[in-house]
């Protein structure tokens, strides 16, 4: 009989299709696992409203569970509480950095205009002398930065709260 702990371990093997270095657990999109005699219910939440990866994540989870012999898996999508980058695990943040994506920094409220720009250290050379190129990057969850020291252009996984 499979346990909830095992299900969580299986989920550690399901990767985010857009940031493949992160598992869905690292990303914090898996909110709960409920096992009963008849079924396995896994609840996930989207990062952004329009995140095109959610359907794929749902399919990948079901596929992984079938591969592990867990039948009757049901994936439920909930909106509340709304996902925040605070749910990305420490391990996830380290993986991001190693992959060349700067992890979310502690940022002030986004709607505050004229605030001092935040410092996003370069994931390659660790310099803090970097600049924002665009608040929007290759996916909804990322912004685009460049390092002024080593000139590395890189993605920043922007803080969402």
């Amino acid at each position: 009989m499979v346990t909830e702990k095992q299900i969580w371990a299986y989920l550690e093997d399901v990767f985010d299709p857009e940031v493949p270095v992160l598992t869905v657990v690292d990303l914090g999109v898996v909110r709960s696992v409920e096992l009963s005699d008849e079924s396995c219910k896994i609840t996930i939440t989207p990062t952004y409203s329009g995140c095109p990866a959610m359907k794929r994540i749902e399919d990948d989870i079901i596929e992984k569970m079938e591969e592990k012999g867990v039948t009757n898996t049901e994936v439920d999508l909930v909106l509340a509480p709304a996902w925040t980058t605070d749910w990305i695990t420490e391990e996830g943040k380290n993986k991001l950095r190693e992959y060349g994506i700067a992890p979310p920094q502690d940022e002030p409220d986004k709607s505050v205009l004229f605030a001092d720009p935040i410092v996003v250290p370069c994931p390659r050379c660790k310099s803090k002398n970097t600049r924002l190129i665009s608040q929007f990057g290759s996916t909804a969850c990322k912004a685009h930065y460049q390092c002024n020291e080593c000139l590395e252009p890189y993605d920043y996984f922007k803080c969402l709260r």
């Binding site: 989207p46 952004y48 409203s49 329009g50 995140c51 095109p52 909930v78 909106l79 509340a80 509480p81 709304a82 996902w83 925040t84 409220d109 986004k110 709607s111 205009l113 004229f114 190129i133 665009s134 608040q135 929007f136 990057g137 290759s138 996916t139 909804a140 685009h144 922007k158 969402l160 709260r161």
Partner: protein, 249 residues
Amino acid sequence: MNSLVEYLLRLGDDSLIIGHRLSEWCGHGPILEEDIAMTNLSLDFIGQATELFKYAGVVEGKGRTEDDIAFLRFDKDYKNALLVEQPNGDFGMTMMRQFILDAYRLPLFKRLVNSGDAQLAAIAAKSLKETKYHYKHSSEWVIRLGDGTEESHQRIQESLDTLWRYAAELLYNDEVDAELIANGTIPSMDGLEEEWKQNVDAVLQEATLSIPTNNWKHEGGRKGMHSEHLGYILTELQYMQRSYPGLEW
């Protein structure tokens, strides 16, 4: 029609139509970063529309899906504000339209987060986080262009002059809102207008732009009375589903 369904359609149609307008910039942005920015914004709005329509379909209880609602209604069934269907114009025009809308959606979602209706509150909480980004982005561009060169200042002032007549409609409310506030589905909207106006004034002042003194206002979108532009949008938006009903890919 059920007031909650009507309210969800108004909010959802604003999201869908502005999302469609922004998507028209795909491949045409003035610089690559803004091309990407506008498609990202578009994705957020279409995502919000999807959730709002999905929920409207559930509340309505007639089995309509989010796709049915997005693609298979007639022009008068769309309840978006006239502002969001206005043509993109130049980049400054698009940013000004976006700014007027974002400055309103920010205080709106702040309130809707406290909706008595749990699903609407959840959609609002998700949307609020995204709207903060949108607002910052459009505000910065309005300031950069307004307080920029002589030409950028003149052009974005013209955009403001053109679009301001559609701004007041965002605050339109009628018996639909009154009923939902009275029965606790949505919270009171006290202070919304003031907060929106403060957001607008602070940025326009920084941008050295002035609100036109001509107070002429256009409205009608919330009742399904649109400018001619919506018809063209729907022609493109609905083409595939009208030509090949039920098409999936």
